[in-house]
Each structure stands twice: as structure tokens, then as C-alpha cells.
């Protein structure tokens, strides 16, 4: 028995070593990349800082929504796309009833929550049937539900689902328009408290405070009984089962939390952007959020809110500077565009590769 425990300990130590290296090297590489890119882009410091702060407020919530499933051992939840869809449905709902301002936004959040809970439950059910291959399943599930989403808003909108606001439907009376103007709730959350400490610099204090609160709640949640159970399930499903934890139920709850947070995150994201691309806003959500988290040094089995925030910061810094850097370096801004997409896919590919490699080494 002692012997066995010792082996377990060594295994854990080896794993943490690799994770520690991952947790250091990846962010360092990206810090260097950001620094070089910033130097090459020749953009003014205040402009870059302003853009990064805006994007941090816009995207952090979505990135943080990925953390709970990682801790519950379900890997990177590409299924947050469904949460984003729930958020968008709620925004379409409030636009239809012309609800505006912070109140309208609050109603959108309230409407999105039950929808996201149902979606999360369904995702959780499916992922429980695909244990060990959650990531690819959640990704395909995202594609699949995107098809259903399009079916609903292209075919059923206007025919089965009544819409009363003019200009929301296509001129044929069937199907939603490609873009929905969210002018009524634009900056509804950012504007609650917003300061301009320096010319050209705008800080949406309220949104940032909400994100900090979310981080604190998350830290607290992981210390509760349910949070501890999730950790246990994440470490070893079998042991958790033996210890009397309902593994399937815990996993479903983890996904529900993630989906609800993603729905809220998408609402925060879109109130900042101001227009909803009905059939496209949600598609890249999973990709960008996952890439951000990984750039911060998270792995498939370990993620903290610090990594989420740092990763969001660096990923979006790269987004801002890479077109200009490409322009100045190669005389072609498209290279920068392609480069940042490559970074998004490449970093996910690399993280999955290292994780699979390491897992194999453990066996």
C-alpha cells in the first residue's frame, strides 16, 4: 500500500513538473512575441493599452467560463458555443421587445440563464456518454448545435416564432437578418461606471469589477463541498465514484455552470461590440476563448483565473499589434492576420499534443 502511494506521489510530481514548465514557457514565449510585435508595430502605447483594456473587459468573462470544466477533468469545453447561443437568443429577445439600457441587459441575463441551464444539461449528458473524448465531442456538438440554431433562426423565425419589431426579419418575412443592431443596450454595462484617466484611455470600471467578482466567487466556489468534489472527479473519476461522489451528476453541474457563464459572457461581449452577427458571432467563441486560456499557461487539466486573465491580455494584445507588425515587417498586413489565426489554432494544437504526450508517459 505504501509503495503504491509512493508511486502515485512520484507520478503527481512528474505531472506537476511538466505543467509547471508549460505554465512558464508558454506565457514567456508570448510575452516575448508581444514585446517584439509591439516594437515592430510602432503603435502608440496609450492606443494599445486602451484597446487591450477594452478587450479584456469584453472577453475575460468568456475565458473564465472555461475553468470549471477543466478542473472537473472534462478538458477544454468547446461547448461554450451553446452558452454563447443562449446569450444571443436572450439579446434577440430583448431587441424584439425594445428593452433598453441596463434594465434591458439585466432582463437579457435573466432570460439567458434558464436557456443556458437547459443547454448545459444537454451538453453534460452527451459528454457523459463520451468520456475520455470530451473535447472533440464538445467541438462537434458546437458545430451540430450551430446547424440547429441556424435552422431555428432562418426557417422558424417569423413563421413559427412571431417577431414584432420591424427590421429584425428579412424582407421575405421569414428568417432573421444577418445582423441585429443592439444600439439599445450598447455599452449598457460598461457605461455604469466608466472613467477616463488620461486622454485616449477609457476604462470600463464596472465591467472589470464584475470580472474580479467572478474570479473571487470562483475561488470561493472551489473551496466548497461541490467544488472539492469537482476537483476529485477531475483527478480520478474511479476514485471519486468509490468515494461516493455521483460522478455523472458532478460533471453535468460543471458543464451547466460553464454554459451559464458563457451565456453571460457573450452578453457582456456583445453589449460592448454593439451589433450581433446573428449567424456568426458565436462561431469563433470557443476557439478564441480556449486559445486565450492556453496562452496564459493553462493546460488541459489545470487552469486558474490568473492564467485566464493573463492569457486574454496577451492574446488580444497580439490581435491588436499583429496586422501592423506584419505591415511594417513584410509590407503586408494580411500576414499578421493569418499569423494570429495560426497562433490561435497552433497553441491549442500544441497544448493538446503536450497533454496527450504527457498522459501517455504517465501510463
Amino acid at each position: 500500500m505504501d509503495n503504491h502511494l509512493q508511486i502515485e506521489e512520484i507520478k503527481v510530481k512528474k505531472q506537476t513538473n511538466v505543467e509547471r514548465i508549460m505554465g512558464f514557457i508558454v506565457p514567456i514565449v508570448f510575452i516575448v512575441l508581444c514585446a517584439v510585435g509591439y516594437y515592430l508595430s510602432e503603435l502608440p502605447f496609450i492606443f494599445v493599452l486602451n484597446e487591450v483594456i477594452i478587450r479584456l473587459g469584453r472577453n475575460s468573462f468568456l475565458v473564465i467560463s472555461l475553468i470549471i470544466p477543466v478542473i472537473a477533468g472534462m478538458g477544454l469545453n468547446f461547448g461554450i458555443v451553446l452558452g454563447a447561443m443562449a446569450g444571443q437568443m436572450a439579446l434577440i429577445f430583448i431587441t424584439n421587445y425594445s428593452l433598453e439600457g441596463a434594465g434591458g441587459l439585466l432582463i437579457a441575463i435573466l432570460v439567458s440563464t434558464p436557456v443556458a441551464i437547459v443547454f448545459g444539461y444537454l451538453v453534460g449528458r452527451v459528454l457523459n456518454k463520451a468520456k475520455g473524448k470530451e473535447m472533440i465531442t464538445s467541438m462537434i456538438l458546437g458545430f451540430f448545435s450551430n446547424g440547429l440554431y441556424q435552422l431555428i433562426f432562418l426557417l422558424f423565425a417569423g413563421t413559427i416564432i412571431p417577431f414584432k419589431k420591424e427590421g429584425l426579419l428579412l424582407s421575405t418575412g421569414m428568417g432573421l437578418r444577418n445582423s441585429v443592431d443592439l444600439a439599445g443596450v450598447r455599452y449598457a454595462m460598461d457605461d455604469i461606471i466608466k472613467i477616463r484617466p488620461y486622454p485616449g484611455l477609457t476604462v470600463p470600471v464596472f465591467t472589470l469589477v464584475v470580472i474580479v467578482l467572478l474570479c473571487l466567487t470562483l475561488t470561493f466556489f472551489l473551496k466548497t463541498k461541490l467544488g472539492q468534489e469537482m476537483r476529485t472527479v477531475g483527478q480520478n473519476m474511479h476514485i471519486a465514484q468509490v468515494a461516493g461522489i455521483n460522478v455523472d451528476r458532478t460533471r453535468i453541474i460543471a458543464i451547466i455552470i460553464s454554459t451559464v457563464l458563457a451565456a453571460w459572457g457573450q452578453i457582456i461581449f456583445l453589449q460592448n461590440i454593439g451589433t450581433l452577427n446573428t449567424y456568426g458571432s458565436h462561431e469563433q467563441v470557443g476557439l478564441f476563448a480556449v486559445a486565450s486560456l492556453l496562452i496564459g499557461g493553462a493546460s488541459v487539466t489545470k487552469a486558474t483565473y490568473r492564467q485566464a486573465l493573463m492569457g486574454t491580455f496577451m492574446f488580444h494584445m497580439l490581435f491588436i499589434i499583429s496586422p501592423m507588425a506584419g505591415q511594417n515587417l513584410m509590407n503586408d498586413s494580411q500576414i499578421g492576420e493569418f499569423f494570429r489565426v495560426f497562433v490561435a489554432y497552433g497553441v491549442i494544437g500544441l497544448a493538446l499534443l503536450l497533454h496527450a504526450w504527457q498522459r501517455r508517459g504517465k501510463k
Binding site: 473535447m135 472533440i136 456538438l141 458545430f143 435552422l151 495560426f342 494544437g349 496527450a356 498522459r359
Partner: protein, 347 residues
């Protein structure tokens, strides 16, 4: 009742559901008086066009690597071959075979290294493969922009560098296979050369499966421990499977492009693996088991569904609905395969 259950088990739910759906669409097409010969001609062309890309999945499944979601890696190699052939202004069959001759060795080398990588991450091939494929496609976007091609057919007219997003093949290899020995029966245009080439590839893969090395590869895929015990180098067999799969994908995209009439670069290959995977699953394959018949049946059912649904839905609803139905069917089928208990431990 027992008989019905046996029948369903034997045919499999995906084939049955898609078959029934296709049947309903056909009835609707007949009711709506959509010209049938045109539809049949389209189906034949598209089966030949997409068939080899679906066939490319077979060696990977046989070698035990699962569904090769990294098909875009091979596709990119095929695109390079086609570009080289156009750069030298080669047209017709010379151009087509030059493209193949250039693409195949590149695909074999790339496939070898990809196979080496997959051997280090056994059990996670599908998840990792998907993202490695995505990374390669997005990385190649930068290559297309910087690649040293000079032919005015290939590069942007303005600026004088960087490959175009779509390249017309009209003056080079457009429809070389489709047009070869093509004839017309009762209004149905039969793309003889295309179908013959697809059949040739199917036969080649089938014959390879019957040879000694093919049998060894199958054994390695069927049961790794048993194969190791009998002295088979499983890792080597898995690499062989991936190399064959990558090479077939390269051939597949060249055949696809010559039929389509355009070469699609940049982000076009990003999602190319998913329709192919869906087709082979509809045909009755699983993550562990596959036959050439699955390829043919699956490609036929899936492509027929797409071809027939387009005009029917155009009349009944909106034109973009056909794309939506493709997304639902395609991803629904992949999802079904992933969540099945018998899916094995591959991810």
C-alpha cells in the same frame, strides 16, 4: 419483430435514417417535377469528386488510428502539387499526372512525420489530429502568401505576389478526368474517367488490404497487444496507415479540384475532413472497423442527399437551408459515432 431488429442492427441506424431521409427527398423531388437526369448526373460527378477524400480515411482506420481528422494535411500537399503543375503551364493529363507526381512524395514525407507524432500520443489521435490539421491549414495561409510562384494565373494581378484565394483551372487541368470518355445516356452525363479513377483507387486500397503487408496493417489495427505478441511492429504499421491516408488525401483534392474547376487555397481546406468523416460513418464504418463498401455507400448517400436536397429545399424554403441541413446531418452523424459505447477508447 425480431427480424426487423436484426435488419436494423445489420444496416445500422445512420444508414437507415439517411436512406429514409433521402427517399423522402426523392419522392418530393418527383412530386415537384425536378428534372431527374440532371440530378443523377450531379450525384455521379460528386461521388467521384469526393470519393477519394472519403477513401483516404480507410487506411487510418485499418491501422487503428481512428478517424483521420488531419486530412487537411494531405490536402495541402495535393494543392502544392497542383500549383507546381500550373506554374509550369502543364495542362490536360500531363498536368494532372505531374500534379500527382509532385504531390505524392510530399504527402508521403509529411505523413511519415505526422505518423511519428501520432505514435507518441496514442489514444488522443482524433482530438489532437483535428487541431494539428487546423494549425497546418492556418500556417499554410502564410505560406500561400509568401510562396515563390510566378505564373500570372496563380498570383494576384495587383501587387504581383501572393497566391489567389481561388485559382481557375480552365486553361490547365479543368475536367480532365470528368471529360475523359464521358458520354450521355438518356440525358444523364456520365463522367466516365472520374468514376473509373475513383474505382481504380478503391480497387488499389482493396487489393492492398489483401496483400501480406495490408493484412499485417489490419492486424496491428485490430488488436495492438496481440499484434505485438506475434512480432508485428505496431508503430511502423500505424505510420504506414497514416502515410497512405495522407497520400490518398493529396490525390483526392487534385481529383476534386479538377472536377470543381477551381483550386481553393487559404482557409478552404480547414473543414474538409468533416464531410468526409460523416460520409464514411453514414456508410456504416465505425471508429475501429471499415470496408471499401462503406466508402462507396456512404459517399453515395451523403452526396445524393446534398444534391437532391438543394433544389427541393430551394422550392420549399430558403436556398441557404440546404447548407444548414448539411451541417446538421454531417455533425449529427459524427456526434452519434463519438458517443456510441462501442466507440473504443480512441479520442
Amino acid at each position: 419483430m425480431e427480424g426487423l431488429k436484426n435488419f436494423v442492427d445489420k444496416v445500422g441506424y445512420p444508414r437507415l435514417i439517411i436512406g429514409a431521409f433521402l427517399f423522402i427527398l426523392c419522392v418530393m423531388a418527383a412530386v415537384l417535377a425536378i428534372p431527374v437526369p440532371g440530378l443523377i448526373g450531379d450525384i455521379l460527378t460528386r461521388v467521384g469528386m469526393n470519393g477519394i477524400l472519403v477513401l483516404a480515411l480507410v487506411p487510418a482506420i485499418q491501422a487503428g488510428v481512428g478517424l483521420n481528422f488531419a486530412l487537411p494535411i494531405g490536402i495541402v500537399c495535393g494543392l502544392i502539387g497542383a500549383l507546381v503543375s500550373i506554374e509550369f503551364k502543364l495542362g490536360g493529363f500531363t498536368g494532372f499526372f505531374t500534379a500527382l507526381v509532385v504531390a505524392i512524395p510530399i504527402a508521403a514525407i509529411v505523413g511519415y512525420f505526422y505518423g511519428q507524432m501520432l505514435n507518441r500520443i496514442k489514444g488522443q489521435e482524433m482530438t489532437v489530429g483535428t487541431y494539428v490539421g487546423f494549425s497546418v491549414v492556418s500556417g499554410m495561409c502564410i505560406f500561400w502568401l509568401l510562396a515563390p510562384f510566378r505564373s500570372p494565373e496563380l498570383i494576384w494581378a495587383v501587387g504581383g505576389s501572393g497566391l489567389r484565394v481561388t485559382i481557375s483551372l480552365e486553361s490547365t487541368i479543368d475536367k480532365v478526368l470528368n471529360g475523359f470518355l464521358s458520354f450521355n445516356v438518356a440525358g444523364v452525363q456520365i463522367p466516365t474517367g472520374l468514376l473509373a479513377f475513383f474505382a481504380l483507387c478503391c480497387i488499389a486500397v482493396w487489393v492492398f488490404g489483401k496483400t501480406k503487408s495490408g493484412a499485417i496493417m489490419n492486424a496491428a489495427g485490430a488488436n495492438e497487444k496481440f499484434a505485438t505478441a506475434t512480432g508485428i511492429n505496431v508503430n511502423q504499421q500505424r505510420i504506414l496507415g497514416i502515410v497512405l491516408s495522407t497520400v490518398l488525401a493529396a490525390i483526392g483534392i487534385i481529383v476534386y479540384s479538377q472536377s470543381f474547376g477551381f483550386l481553393q487555397l487559404y482557409n478552404a481546406p480547414l473543414m474538409a475532413a468533416f464531410p468526409a468523416v460523416a460520409a464514411i460513418l453514414i456508410g456504416g464504418a465505425s471508429i475501429k472497423k471499415v470496408a471499401i463498401s462503406h466508402v462507396i455507400i456512404g459517399t453515395f448517400l451523403f452526396q445524393a442527399l446534398l444534391v437532391v436536397s438543394l433544389p427541393v429545399i430551394n422550392i420549399l424554403a430558403d436556398g441557404s437551408m440546404s447548407e444548414v441541413i448539411r451541417a446538421i446531418v454531417q455533425n449529427g452523424i459524427i456526434l452519434y459515432a463519438l458517443t456510441r459505447e462501442t466507440g473504443g477508447d480512441l479520442a
